[in-house]
């Protein structure tokens, strides 16, 4: 029963947020678009004029471009698969009766609060160091040769660090959902002799669909911009250069603003493709 009056008040109250976000989006975006059509080298002559689509062509034809897109998608995809599968397993386990459930929850959620720079540094030095790292000691204990994680298995290492950070999030969301399962229905199915796998497939998994969607959506938003974990560990070497990192190098390390900006536009396009795909899936799941 919104009156004309309350409608205009509502619009007025929404305005600051919309204007701010619109400005936050449009102003830098416009600047990035303009730069992307220029040869612009702040340390070597500054603004050297318009160059049309040169930067776009150069950015894509660089040998680093496709690998960086693949690296980005690999990190997002692997971390999503790992955190969701392990998250479901952990959620189902934590839902079982046990002693000290609250304490286990506290232990499991902790990595979520650790800032990315800290977790990257701790993993890099104290766990993945090939001489003094815990993993090296563990490998030696079992008689295996220590792995040089960040050079020999760089992508796996990054995925491992990022998954460690996001597993708590997935677990907690999924656990919340598991706890609202209809117990009587589950027990009825069990009494009817439905095997565990079919109870999981037909009752538990559909119930978790919404929670899984939320995990997908939110993690993707944050995983698209993974930066500190790579910055601190490999510095983009050994095949871990994501699109974000490639642009960062073009802009800040080689100070080639035009080229970096063209890369930025590509990154925005990639993010939008992922976003549209996600919004479709999520919108459908959240409506109900």
């Amino acid at each position: 029963m919104a009156t004309q009056h309350s409608r205009s008040v509502a619009r007025f109250m929404l305005a600051p947020a919309v204007i701010l976000l619109l400005g936050w989006m449009l102003v830098p975006l416009t600047a990035t678009l303009i730069f992307s059509f220029k040869k612009y080298l702040p340390l070597r002559g500054g603004d050297l004029g318009w160059v049309g689509f040169d930067n776009y062509v150069r950015f894509v034809s660089s040998s680093a471009f496709w690998p960086s897109v693949m690296a980005t998608l690999t990190i997002i995809g692997s971390v999503l698969v790992i955190t969701i599968i392990l998250g479901i397993v952990l959620a189902l386990l934590l839902d079982q009766p046990m002693w000290g459930q609250g304490i286990v929850r506290i232990l499991v959620i902790a990595p979520f609060f650790v800032m990315p720079t800290v977790s990257a540094l701790v993993w890099k030095n104290m766990f993945m160091d090939p001489i003094n790292g815990i993993l090296a000691h563990l490998w030696k204990f079992f008689g295996a040769a220590p792995v040089e994680w960040l050079t020999q298995a760089s992508m796996q290492s990054i995925v491992m660090i990022v998954s460690w950070q996001w597993l708590p999030f997935a677990t907690l969301i999924l656990l919340t959902s598991v706890q609202s399962l209809d117990r009587e229905q589950l027990e009825a199915a069990e009494m009817d002799g439905a095997p565990w796998i079919s109870r999981f497939w037909h009752l538990i998994l559909p119930h978790l669909a919404r929670a899984i969607t939320i995990v997908l959506l939110i993690q993707t938003i944050f995983l698209l911009s993974v930066f500190a974990e790579i910055f601190v560990t490999t510095g983009g070497a050994f095949g871990t250069k994501t699109l974000t990192y490639l642009i960062f190098q073009r802009v800040l390390e080689s100070q080639n603003i035009g080229l970096g900006s063209a890369g930025g536009v590509y990154a925005i396009i990639l993010a939008n493709i992922v976003a549209i795909f996600l919004m479709r899936a999520v919108g459908k799941n959240l409506d109900s």
Partner: protein, 276 residues
């Protein structure tokens, strides 16, 4: 009809769950333990678990080498300030979308969330130049505004989902009784929305505290928060596991403790209220 669970089964559950919890928590535990060792003990072979000479020396060295308190204060200021600013802007926006929805409300919400997907690196240079021109580089104010803007969509979403659960009839009734819009928000809506606002605040403090792209790229000495403090320990100058651990512990301790105390409120907030 709760099924009786055998003690045996419960013990097994407990064992498995505690082991997994321990493994997940181990990197943090190990960091905290190492921070109390000497550098030599920190790289001892085999690793020392509990039996070493506990020392506070590393904390003293870290504090001396890089003024921890100043970084801590910057983190508190940035996380607190950006969240407060965000809440002030987001509450009216979320209110209007939750109680006076139009047919565009859903699109606006989706659009807001989509601004979160814009890769920060794509707009780094314009922002950097703008900050230089406005004299905002390495200033707490400038960074606070950026952090507010990047988290604003999430704040609005969370508040929106919380507000949406408040029955509109209560507000109608207050309006019938002659409450003004200000009274309605201040005395009717706010008390009911406090839990939702609280968990929104918590989540955003954590996100702002841990943000490590803008805080690394837009600060130097003055405005640098703990993310930059810790990044200064990433340059390899020989082995210094114990000092790195002390610095890491100091950087994460405040937010870890806050997070543990508030984990129940957080869970609901994290799902945007979509999972119950």
């Amino acid at each position: 009809m709760a099924r009786a669970v055998t003690t045996q089964r419960k013990t097994l559950n407990t064992l498995i769950a505690w082991s997994i919890g321990f493994v997940i928590f181990f990197p943090i535990l190990w960091t905290i333990l190492t921070s109390f060792k000497t550098e030599a003990q920190a790289i001892n072979d085999p690793p020392l678990f509990l039996f070493f000479d506990w020392t506070l020396e590393n904390y003293a060295v870290v504090q001396e080498r890089s003024n921890y308190m100043r970084f801590l204060w910057n983190s508190i200021f940035l996380a607190g300030g950006s969240t407060l600013l965000g809440i002030i802007i987001a509450v009216p926006a979320a209110w209007s979308m939750a109680f006076v929805p139009s047919n565009r409300t859903k699109d606006i919400l989706m659009w807001m969330l989509s601004t979160k997907m814009l890769p920060a690196v794509g707009v780094l240079y314009p922002i950097y130049i703008g900050f230089v021109k406005l004299g905002l580089l390495d200033s707490r104010l400038g960074l606070m505004i950026i952090l507010m803007l990047i988290n604003l969509p999430i704040i609005i979403w969370m508040l929106y989902t919380y507000f949406k659960e408040i029955p509109g009839e209560i507000l109608e009734a207050a309006r019938m009784d002659g409450a003004s819009l200000k009274d309605e928000i201040l005395y009717v809506l706010t008390p009911m929305a406090i839990p939702g606002i609280a968990s929104t605040v918590l989540l955003n403090v954590i996100l702002a505290w841990n943000e490590a792209f803008w805080t690394l790229n837009l600060t130097a000495a003055k405005a640098a928060p703990l993310t930059a403090f810790i990044a200064s320990y990433s340059s390899p100058e020989g082995l210094f596991f114990a000092k790195l651990s002390a610095a890491s512990t100091m950087a994460i301790a405040p937010i870890l403790i806050l997070g543990w105390f508030s984990q129940k409120q957080l869970v609901r907030g994290l799902t945007f209220g979509a999972v119950k």
